[in-house]
Assembly symmetry: C5
Homo-oligomer: 362 residues x 5
Amino acid sequence: MKSVGTRSRSAVGLPPGTLVFTGKRMLDKPKISYFHYNPDAFEEGIIEQLDVCRDLRHKEGITWINVDGLHDTALLACMGEIYGLHPLIVEDIVQTDQRPKVEFFEDYAFITFRMLYFAKEEENPEEEVLEEVISEQMSIVLGRNFVLSFQESLGDVFDPIRERIRKGKGRIRKAGPDYLAYALMDAIVDQYFVILEAFGDELEDLEDEILGKPTPANIQTMHDIKRELIYIRKSSWPMRELITGLQRDEGGLIKPDTKIYLRDLYDHTIQIIDTIEVYRDVVSSMFDIYLSTLSNRLNEVMKVLTIISTIFIPLTFLAGVYGMNFKYMPELDWKIGYPIALGMMGTTALLLLMFFRHKRWI
Amino acid sequence: MKSVGTRSRSAVGLPPGTLVFTGKRMLDKPKISYFHYNPDAFEEGIIEQLDVCRDLRHKEGITWINVDGLHDTALLACMGEIYGLHPLIVEDIVQTDQRPKVEFFEDYAFITFRMLYFAKEEENPEEEVLEEVISEQMSIVLGRNFVLSFQESLGDVFDPIRERIRKGKGRIRKAGPDYLAYALMDAIVDQYFVILEAFGDELEDLEDEILGKPTPANIQTMHDIKRELIYIRKSSWPMRELITGLQRDEGGLIKPDTKIYLRDLYDHTIQIIDTIEVYRDVVSSMFDIYLSTLSNRLNEVMKVLTIISTIFIPLTFLAGVYGMNFKYMPELDWKIGYPIALGMMGTTALLLLMFFRHKRWI
Amino acid sequence: MKSVGTRSRSAVGLPPGTLVFTGKRMLDKPKISYFHYNPDAFEEGIIEQLDVCRDLRHKEGITWINVDGLHDTALLACMGEIYGLHPLIVEDIVQTDQRPKVEFFEDYAFITFRMLYFAKEEENPEEEVLEEVISEQMSIVLGRNFVLSFQESLGDVFDPIRERIRKGKGRIRKAGPDYLAYALMDAIVDQYFVILEAFGDELEDLEDEILGKPTPANIQTMHDIKRELIYIRKSSWPMRELITGLQRDEGGLIKPDTKIYLRDLYDHTIQIIDTIEVYRDVVSSMFDIYLSTLSNRLNEVMKVLTIISTIFIPLTFLAGVYGMNFKYMPELDWKIGYPIALGMMGTTALLLLMFFRHKRWI
Amino acid sequence: MKSVGTRSRSAVGLPPGTLVFTGKRMLDKPKISYFHYNPDAFEEGIIEQLDVCRDLRHKEGITWINVDGLHDTALLACMGEIYGLHPLIVEDIVQTDQRPKVEFFEDYAFITFRMLYFAKEEENPEEEVLEEVISEQMSIVLGRNFVLSFQESLGDVFDPIRERIRKGKGRIRKAGPDYLAYALMDAIVDQYFVILEAFGDELEDLEDEILGKPTPANIQTMHDIKRELIYIRKSSWPMRELITGLQRDEGGLIKPDTKIYLRDLYDHTIQIIDTIEVYRDVVSSMFDIYLSTLSNRLNEVMKVLTIISTIFIPLTFLAGVYGMNFKYMPELDWKIGYPIALGMMGTTALLLLMFFRHKRWI
Amino acid sequence: MKSVGTRSRSAVGLPPGTLVFTGKRMLDKPKISYFHYNPDAFEEGIIEQLDVCRDLRHKEGITWINVDGLHDTALLACMGEIYGLHPLIVEDIVQTDQRPKVEFFEDYAFITFRMLYFAKEEENPEEEVLEEVISEQMSIVLGRNFVLSFQESLGDVFDPIRERIRKGKGRIRKAGPDYLAYALMDAIVDQYFVILEAFGDELEDLEDEILGKPTPANIQTMHDIKRELIYIRKSSWPMRELITGLQRDEGGLIKPDTKIYLRDLYDHTIQIIDTIEVYRDVVSSMFDIYLSTLSNRLNEVMKVLTIISTIFIPLTFLAGVYGMNFKYMPELDWKIGYPIALGMMGTTALLLLMFFRHKRWI
């Protein structure tokens, strides 16, 4: 997974509230797009100048402003000012390694969590590799009549929502900004399922291989899955608290109607967490199988070595004895010396084979 | 276990409330059957047209409608409308990978959990394999005078309950719909015991084998049991919460009389969870035995190899020395050269045997 | 341990409240004995006819009825009726795989838990095996002036209590039925200590063996202890809750005086649980030692093999070279050829020995 | 650690409140000493007759009676009577395997926990062994104007406290009996630190050895430390609850001033528990290192064996071929037969060496 | 990590409140510096005489006194007196092994926790070793108009804060002493991120090595990281409680404005703890890989040995047979004896190779 968060050294030692963008700069210029809608109409566009924001702020209807790219801290500070955000909140938006959380203020709520999605691979989609999971910080500011969303880079999972706004499909244009915020979160949580499903498939393949003929490559795959699960868990555990926090809101930002939907979202989150735990258990059980298969194979290899060595080493010794050049070795002159020697060898081999059969090695 | 739930990609990106059936379509047409009863009489039948539902809705007495097959989403949406269900609930019924839960609404409660049962094998019942566990989502809607139950496929564990309704045996016809819902849940939880008992037997057999003569097949069986237990645990843990939730109902859907029965059900659930934990501990202890048995065997194999090699390799060397073709090797001309050489070999072998005896290897 | 509870298939599918005895039938006929006492007098006997129960029910003083053997479900149902027990309670008594619990009703409390004791071995008491632990379900019904106790089979740990009633020793005749119930539970919990002490001794012996000279039999003993501890833990964990439940009783069944004794009992239970956890940790640490000892031994065996092989294989090769039959091998004709060859061999052996010494293998 | 508590069989089956001393009798006669003090004066002595206790009971000022040796149960029962102790409390004092706990009564509080200290070794203090940890039950009864302390044997860690009382140093003579009880507990908890520090040193030495050249003896040391930690943890975990219990006292036995000191004691206890957990983690990490070092060494040994065998076995075969006695073996008659054979051998050896180099084994 | 805290023996046995410095004396003389500021002005200096403290105590504005070096216990006792600190608090400052905690008193709060930072290495900064982590106790006393900070040695992470005070940058001069205390804590928590980031980099390098070509040195690095993480966890877990404690203050020491900042600090602490857990999981997964790689390699080594031995040992035996010196061995006289023998050898080798191919070893 890309961009897993420990706070960058660059932010250390500065006064709280100082804006330092801690992610990778992935865009030249942030892209700010907006939707403005009410049950009857909608309007959308790209914002080039922040004055538009100021206008939208006080216009009737619901506004959704989406910012792609967080490195232009001046611009974000300015937006923060327009929408009356606490400096620490703007700092949290810019530091792209926040723990998922929700914070309530008088006029708005600040929600931050991680968006996970598979990197798009245009060229060879048939290839059988685990696609890379991209982890991006997603911040949402939910106000009385607006929703601000901040992403690190272009590309998101919100196109179906945009389409629903455009077509006025479902509740989305009739409901308030809280429902829009819910819809955004729901879209992101759905992606977690997509990723977990891919892991589930991967695990099943891996299981077949390990029970069949394990290779050292499996262990790396297991480790990769395990690590990814660790990081996804880190992203999804605090989601529970986050959604519970939203459900408990008493400031009127979240309407009772929307709370039913949040309950649904909460169920999904729990299901994600459960599934992660199940997968972790499964991986660790597979690791045990892997190790025991290695042990089994070593045992088998050693048995072959032992059987062959144990049979032929004594025989070779016997042959060696009659290969000695002593002048006075009576057996050598016997006519039946050679057959006797061969007979002794055969008997020895037979006895040893019976011993191994007795030990159930063959 | 079949059909273990991560949410299908097909549902991702759609607005909440959109009905997408995420299971496998196992029937051509859903089968809807009903019971209508009061303490004195009962009536049962198959519903072909939803109008019947509408009639039953307002008829005196208790109605139980059971739907087998969830792929006809239009039909379910229609039923949802007749019984006044929230669209999200109908979505939950159709998405067959819900986490067990209960949700209360003003006029009804929605209960969803998993029904586990062994696949029926008609042909060779004597075969000694772990039968496949089928996992199916079971949803129950408990209303003031009706119970709706939704299953993914035909075949369930409710025949004894149907019989009790028909014969008016026990409390079932006298009690309300809450008791019927309890009876359905009780029947399903009982199946968990059947499955766990089968696992218990399997574990005992496995234990005997592993302590006797373990084979690599055992490790796969252990892994299978472990994985099944992981999934059953995932299904049964949330049952606790679910039943506690029902017990705490204050809306009058669950009558005090029934709560005593729910306490009983709760005890059973706890017992299932306890048993799963015990089995998990036992499996993991068996895995330890398995590994140590492998190690023991390797040690034994290596000892045989080492003893044989260590005795004969030096002897072969001695024989090799006297097999050299040097012209001037005085020993070769001695009359007692050969007996001396044999004596040396015998002594060497004896000393080595004593060394091994001293090491307690033989 | 015998009789570890998953619910029997035989009870599945029956309406709740149906009595199905799920244990093994260990007696031909249940034995019902009773004590009736007050501070000044006592009376005891065997009950052949249930009418006696009915009489005792309404007689002044405290009655203790003990039932050995639970397979006569008709008789138990009848007793349940006499004492006004809920049908589910009678079902719980008969199903001998209950989780330890307490349930309060208006006029009585129902307590169920497991009695553990060592099977009596009359013949060879000196044998050094872990005696078998018998696990039996014990149910107690505590009423306002009576105590009913139900056991699966004859043989219990209550003889000292019977003696105390007979002799009027201690508080037992002066105190109420709650104290008697406490005394019964205390006697059973004391047996847990006896069993754990035996395990403790066993563990100490095992530890000495494993640190000395471990054998594969040890691993089986470890597994047996581990499994027994798992089952004892399953029996004792819920005891905590059970006793806490009794202490919290506000219906007057448990008098304040007795609650001090229950606190003592609670402490004992905690101590049992602590000891089990300690033993589990110790067993798992011993398993680690066992495994590492195996590894150590394998290392030692391999070192011997490697040293012997590595020294003699090159020497044998040298001997082989001078055993070749080429016509033109100048060394063979040298007078000092043989000593030189021996010298080379000696030097090689010496160098290898020095190499092993350097590696600290010898 | 000595005397780790499972309840002795000797106490089983007796009525609660029966006094059975379950420890080892370490003294011929219990030794009872007392201090009586107020801010201005103090008096100390040995009590031979219990009447002195009775006198002290009603005398102004604070009394501290310390009893060494618990086997004289009659004497203790008598003391219990003088100070109005509940029979179960006297039983707890005598049964030397209590779980640490505090119990409040109307006029006194009963505190019991374990005192750990290193056995004193007079003779060879330079020896490098882990000194034996002695574990002794310590019971304290804190009354309105007295403190009773009960120890299993002579020898304790209270001499500095005695000195402070004698010299009137610090708060001790000015404060009440609650402060004295605190001081006793503090002295004991301090000993835990001493013991843990010794373990810390031991662990550091062990770590150096294991990372350097591990021996099988290390594994035993690890096991010993682990087991001691398990037992110390068993003694210290309940201390937390115990001190919290004291802090919550509302009966006036613990004065607010003393509660600040108890908070300090609580912090120490938490620190002890934290340190134990840290040490457990460290030991378990060291065990992993140990195992992997064994594996590494085995690998190394096997590599040497494999390299030597793999090089010389084919060469010996070649030599064997030319040692055959066939009449018609043309090579044997060639003049350059011998050099060619040697060359073949050299080449084979070289190729194998290159193979090993390629595998990075050498 | 240096200086990990178990309490020193030197403090054991002394009355509570006795000042014993338990750290290492790192300075000759403590260095006391101060800042005194209000929104408009500031003044700073070094305090040589404690009278200055007394003056600062009662002067308007906010005072920050920082003490480097804790071994001069007399001086600290004196300061404690000036600022009215409880003797136990001064003891806590001096004993440099406290568990992080906060304690509230009427007029001040006492905060203690650990400051972690990398030791500065002036000479060879390019070296690729994990720099040593220094752990130092940091105590803060937060009063109504002052902040006292106590460190074990010179060198801290507060220079940016000093700069902010000097330049009046940010809120620091406008806000109260609570904000200053927050700023100090924030600076220290930021260092935790720096250290964890370094561990993260180290872990990534280690992972590459282990998946590539693991060496025994890796296991030591893993152990080092694991141990450091254990100690950092010990330092950071109680921070959560500490900050929660500060947030719950109702005595007015912490102003509501500052509580928002504390919430931010709390989030950072949680993130640190999460990251530690993630790293621990990753290390333990890497250890599994390491072990399995060792096993894989052993398997590979053994396979080579087995293949070579198994092929050549029978061949050598055959050569040995025809090297025997029996007078009557008809084969030896055959013209085609030699080619037949070679053919037999070749066939044997071929068959064995096919066997290995069948086993998929080659």
